[in-house]
């Protein structure tokens, strides 16, 4: 039931995305002056005060949807840490008259810098029409205007798309609200922990389990191009890399290797999977071309080589190796040539993941009994630590390369650690827990939906 629903939503949204049309801006198409802008690359950011009244609905159903959409958009913007939602009790202008045109002085009076005005309409054919405009209150100008027609049940995605449009217009960066998270849901005692693949929207909505928990599963990662996840599963007691199709629920072992395969990730074009294979006590890195199933070996070293991740241009691979005596991060060419160590700080470095922007590599660092999530440039310079804990691990990038998600496990009693998911901005600020129904680990952020 759930699966069919999700599937329909996905297909239903293809027309939705094309139907998004830009509403004509009041001042024409010329770009407005860049007065309303948040620079998300600097340190701690003063959130932008934004007013977001419920969307105006043309009937009972539309009003409910209008309220729900406004709530989801507000929550997305608030969680980003870049916006401060102004208390609605302070609003002066009545919502009904907003439809005509905002009275900017009354929004300036409550110090709103941006104003979102939207409407929802259930059409005679049952379709939901949503319109919204983002206003620069001080300039009195429209910054964005969009309209979409879709099935009413798609209202959540519409809300995320609106939040993405607002985020993009204000920050100049792609939004990441219309995305999902796959992770490992954990239950039971540590000595017999049950782990299941689970998937949810980035805000925790539409949560569902993908596997039953009968088999141990670890380290899921999204395909950048398909509704697929690659991950590790102990099916029949044999740890192997699998590909899981989110729409059909089908899973398939990847290749027939003589040893354990693990630590898989897709290449940027989704056509290859890079992973480790352990044989006779030695783990090396291999890449499989999915269409031909041809396997190439990238490393051949008696050390542990694991956790490989492609650069976004697929020319290089960052990976974890203890060839120098302890765990460090190395970068090599994508054919395995030219390996160079890039981490030189104190402690051990692990789980490198290349940012989708290409500018940074996120990692886990272990030093003096503490774990850290950090980033460094691909040449190893500019190391910054963003999060800390008794155990933090497994960073994953938002598709715009501005936010990292990871898991944190506190010091445990006899029942074992109860990990939780967190996100943190690249600035090191705005750390947030991502609520999940049970303990959760190994998060992976989806690419933007298409």
């Amino acid at each position: 039931m759930m699966r069919n629903f999700k599937q329909d939503v996905r297909f239903g949204l293809v027309p939705l995305l094309f139907a998004l049309c830009v509403l004509v801006t009041v001042t024409g198409v010329s770009p407005v002056r860049a007065e309303l802008k948040v620079d998300i690359t600097s340190g701690k950011i003063e959130p932008l005060p934004i007013a977001l009244p419920d969307f105006f609905g043309n009937g009972a159903q539309a009003q409910t949807l209008g309220r729900d959409i406004a709530a989801v958009v507000s929550a997305d913007l608030e969680r980003s840490g870049l916006f401060r939602l102004i208390d609605r009790k302070a609003f002066i202008q009545a919502r009904s008259s907003l439809r005509i045109r905002p009275k900017f002085p009354s929004w300036r009076q409550i110090n709103a810098q941006a104003l979102v005005v939207g409407s929802t309409e259930v059409r005679p054919n049952g379709q939901l029409r949503v319109e919204f405009r983002l206003w620069d209150v001080f300039a009195g100008q429209q910054l964005v205007g969009l309209r979409t027609d879709t099935e009413p049940r798609n209202w959540r995605r519409v809300a995320h798309i609106i939040a993405d449009a607002i985020y993009k217009r204000i920050t100049g960066e792609q939004g990441y609200f219309d995305t999902r998270i796959v992770y490992v849901a954990e239950s039971g005692p540590a000595i017999k922990r049950v782990k299941r693949l689970a998937i949810m929207d980035q805000d925790g909505a539409n949560h569902r389990y993908l596997t039953s928990g009968a088999e141990l599963v670890l380290t899921p990662r999204f395909s950048p191009t398909a509704q697929e996840i690659t991950y590790l599963e102990y099916r029949g007691g044999k740890p192997r890399v699998y590909i899981f199709n989110i729409d059909t629920g089908q899973r398939e072992a990847l290749g027939d290797f003589p040893g354990m395969t693990f630590a898989p990730r897709f290449s940027p074009n989704g056509k290859r999977v890079i992973m480790s294979m352990a044989q006779d006590g030695n783990s090396d890195i291999f890449v499989m071309d999915l269409p031909t199933r041809r396997v190439s070996r990238l490393t051949s070293h008696p050390s542990i080589d694991t956790s490989p991740s492609f650069s976004p241009d697929a020319r290089r691979v960052v990976f974890n190796s203890d060839r120098g005596g302890r765990q460090q991060i190395y970068v090599m060419d994508s054919d395995g040539g030219n390996p160079k160590r890039i981490s030189f700080g104190n402690g051990r470095y692990a789980t490198p993941v290349w940012s989708p922007r290409g500018d940074l590599i996120a990692f886990t660092k272990i030093t003096q009994g503490e774990f850290y999530i950090g980033v460094m440039r691909p040449n190893g310079s500019g190391e910054r630590l963003l999060a800390k804990g008794f155990l933090v691990e497994g960073p994953t990038w938002s598709p715009n390369g501005r936010v990292l998600m990871f898991f944190r496990q506190p010091r445990a009693g006899a029942g074992g650690g109860q990990p939780k998911l967190f996100s943190v901005d690249l600035t090191g600020f705005n750390e947030r827990e991502i609520k999940t129904p049970t303990a959760g680990s190994d998060p992976a952020w989806s690419p933007p939906k298409r």
Partner: protein, 178 residues
């Protein structure tokens, strides 16, 4: 001797059908099942008499229980280490002798790590530990086709607490009769 081998093989086959991924404490798996299962999996359709030899202590020879009680099913590792301590080698030498005595026994060696490492590296580390044990047993004469390895990384601790004494118990390899 002949009977013993046959029964052990049958017991081994029956056990092979059991799940091998569960908690490798050993006691749950091998214990008690070897004696009872000779009959249920009788080979030629004829009702074979139930014969099993008993190891010291009254447990079925060649069973997991025998291994756990009389030999020791596990060895422990230092922090981030795969080297076999003198104590570990002594245990493995006893395991090798035991495996010589119980020729029908096929084993799986599971390698484990503590929680103070990253997941993927620990999977590789567990594989290294299991392989170090396997190689030592092979060097002591165990036939290669009687041993398999698997790594659980930090996924299957015996003690879930975040404490030094728990971690030192969790950095281990466990030998399981298949």
């Amino acid at each position: 001797m002949h009977w013993k081998i046959l029964v052990t093989v049958i017991a081994g086959l029956a056990l092979g059908a059991c799940e091998t991924t569960s908690d490798n404490t050993g006691s749950a798996q091998g214990g008690g099942s070897a004696t009872g299962q000779g009959s249920s999996s009788g080979t030629s359709g004829s009702s074979s008499p139930q014969v099993s030899s008993l190891a010291p202590g009254g447990v079925p020879a060649g069973s997991q229980e025998d291994l756990v009680t009389n030999i020791g099913d596990r060895v422990f590792f230092g922090l981030d280490s795969v080297s076999l301590s003198a104590e570990a080698r002594a245990t493995l030498e006893k395991q090798a002798q035991w495996l010589r005595r119980n020729q029908g026994v096929i084993i799986t060696i599971a390698g484990h790590a503590d929680e103070r490492g990253t997941r993927e590296y620990n999977l590789a580390l567990g594989d290294r530990r299991a392989t170090a044990v396997r190689d030592y047993l092979i060097a002591l004469g165990l036939e290669q086709n009687r041993v398999k390895t698997v790594s659980f990384g930090k996924e299957r601790p015996v003690d879930g607490r975040s404490a030094e004494d728990a971690w030192s118990k969790n950095r281990r390899s466990v030998t399981t009769v298949n």
